[in-house]
């Protein structure tokens, strides 16, 4: 399936978007899971603090009770030291536990109760120790025997043990959550990683395929290009060949047509000479009234010369036509030579050559050329300008003096434009294309000519790589517009 560039851009963007989303999801999850870990860690820390505080308080209580009992049993003063030590830390330990449990409002009641229990216990223990110190050992034992102290102690221990267990449970739960958290993190990382690898792989694959297609397309284009060049070359060769053939054909035809003309002209002359001698003979015998001689005389003096005259004029005309074709064909075969041509000077020279005829008729030429130096075949351009100026003089309007205006301008595409405008008799609409055809003429036929001027001009201009067009209003004037390349490309235009 070929990938269009649009599809390529779309799929690449889509893959990039998927990759970005995956990356953001991974980052978000990691941040979230990190936060969670922090929370769990804090909880575990709190639980440990609570446990430590509860344990410390319990131990202190136990130490105090053990020391009290030891003293009462043995009356050994060293137990009192341990007792006072334990008793002195109890409030501090209690405050510690209370601080930890402040976060749990539901524990406020039991904690307050614990305070009373501890205080009662201390009071009980101090009472028995005071009795023992004052020698009233039995009373002290009696108080212990009431089990009030033991009950208080059991209450306190039960509560503290519950606190410790709760702390243990919370610690275990925290660790479990932390573990689950780590598990989550692992899976998210694995899935995200897989996703990113897939996206990168997909992008790389798309890029690779697209590049392959581009390379293939480029190869195809270069192959087509080469084919096209070859086709153009072949076509150009064909055209050149056809053109050569036409030129050759025209050349051969004109030469073969000339051969019979030589005969017609030649024998007409011979005939004329013969008629002259016959006429001389007949004219000598003027007295004769023989009707046959009379007819012969008419034939020799009128009919034959008339016939010969028509044969001659027709042959001459035909010779003119053949020469015209020959001229065109020769122009096609002439090798063009590109050289620097100053169009301004060339036009001025052309205008100068018709100045005499213009002066006679009271006309004038206005030159407005101002063209840059171009590279073209000078002789061809001279012929073109000369022909057009001659035409302007030849076909001027008899009723007004000729006004010729030659203008030059630079056109896009490295072209120049030369316009020759006259106020002559103009060319009728229906003759617009005809005037460029060989042997065709337009308007009143009061000028001699074979009708090859414009056909020749067009052939020459096209040989130079340009073209000629015409605008005309019948009875008002004509403008010929010649377009020429600023640089003549040899080889493409000349045969």
């Amino acid at each position: 399936m070929p990938i269009s560039s649009k599809l390529f851009v779309r799929s690449t963007l889509a893959l990039l978007a998927v990759g970005l989303v995956a990356l953001l999801a991974i980052i978000g999850t990691v941040i979230y899971l990190g936060e969670q870990s922090q929370v769990y860690f804090n909880e575990v820390l709190e639980a440990r603090e609570g446990r430590t505080a509860a344990t410390d308080l319990r131990n202190a209580l136990r130490l105090a009770e053990t020391s009290q009992r030891g003293y009462i049993i043995t009356s050994n003063e060293t137990y009192l030291e341990s007792f006072s030590l334990a008793r002195d830390v109890l409030p501090e330990r209690y405050e510690g536990l209370k601080t930890v449990l402040q976060a749990y409002p539901e524990a406020d009641g039991p904690v307050a109760e614990l305070k009373q229990t501890i205080d009662s216990k201390i009071a009980e223990m101090e009472q028995t120790i005071a009795l023992e110190q004052s020698g009233r050992h039995d009373e002290a034992v009696e108080i212990i025997r009431t089990d009030r102290g033991k009950d208080l102690m059991d209450n306190a221990i039960t509560f503290l043990t519950a606190v410790i267990r709760a702390a243990d449970e919370r610690q275990a739960a925290g660790v479990n959550q932390q573990r689950a958290n780590a598990e989550w993190l692992r899976w998210v990382s694995i899935i995200g990683g897989v996703l990113i690898v897939a996206v990168v792989g997909g992008s790389a694959l798309t890029v690779w395929r697209y590049t392959q297609e581009l390379v293939a397309a480029r190869d195809e284009v270069s192959v087509l290009n080469a084919e096209l060049e070859e086709r153009v070359r072949l076509r150009t060769a064909d055209l050149t060949l056809a053109n050569d053939e036409i030129q050759r054909f025209a050349y051969i035809v004109t030469h073969d047509l000339r051969a019979p003309l030589v005969n017609i002209m030649g024998f007409t002359s011979e005939l004329e000479e013969s008629v002259k001698s016959v006429r001389a003979l007949l004219e000598r015998e003027t007295a004769d009234d023989d009707p046959v001689a009379q007819q012969a005389r008419i034939a020799a003096t009128e009919d034959l010369p008339e016939a010969i005259g028509f044969i001659r004029s027709s042959t001459r005309k035909m010779d003119g036509l053949i020469n015209a074709i020959l001229k065109l064909s020769r122009e096609g075969r002439r090798t063009l030579k590109a050289e620097r041509v100053d169009v301004n000077k060339l036009v001025a020279a052309g205008a100068a050559s018709i100045a005499h005829q213009l002066g006679e008729a009271g006309g004038e030429v206005k030159l407005d050329v101002n063209l840059p130096i171009i590279s073209t075949d000078k002789m061809s351009l001279e012929q073109v300008v000369g022909n057009l100026l001659d035409n302007a003089v030849k076909y001027r309007a008899k009723e007004r003096p000729l006004r010729l205006h030659v203008r030059g301008s630079v056109a896009p595409g490295q072209m120049i434009v030369l316009e020759i405008e006259d106020n002559g008799r103009g060319i009728a609409d229906q003759d617009r294309e005809r005037v460029f055809e060989l042997f065709r003429r337009s308007g009143v036929q009061d000028q001699s000519g074979e009708g090859i001027g414009l056909a020749f001009v067009r052939t020459v201009v096209r040989n130079l790589g340009g073209d000629i067009t015409m605008n005309s209003v019948f009875g008002q004037g004509t403008t010929f517009r010649i377009t020429l390349p600023r640089t003549l490309q040899l080889g493409s235009t000349s045969a």
């Binding site: 000339r258 030589v262 005969n263 002209m265 030649g266 024998f267 007409t268 002359s269």
Partner: protein
Amino acid sequence: MTHNPKPVTIIMIEDDEGHARLIEKNIRRAGVNNEIVPFTNGTSALDHLFGADGSGAVSAGRQLLILLDLNLPDMTGVDILGKIKSNEHLKRSPVVVLTTTDDSREIQRCYDLGANVYITKPVNYEGFANAIRQLGLFFSVIQIPETN
């Protein structure tokens, strides 16, 4: 040519009989009375010049002046010119190419092959007659070598 012991024969190879006739008339008008042998195609002219064996030995000892048209029905005059100028018996005979062709390449080619004179037939009859008459005058003064 009157001082030549053997009379010079003019070989005229011209396919157009009208042209041949006009050429002959105008040469005669110039006062040239030598024998003119006309041929209207290349094959018969070559037979005459080179003989049946094609060696050209048949022309040995003749004094020939050849008038040659280039456009012949069976071959081009250029080929005939080449054959004449490369044959040891005929190569010294002057060849005048008289044709309608005025292509500069063709003219160069004929001179390269050894043509002695190249004349383009003018269509205009006065010009044509004039040219042939002058050619006749030219014939009457040039020395023609004997072939060997």
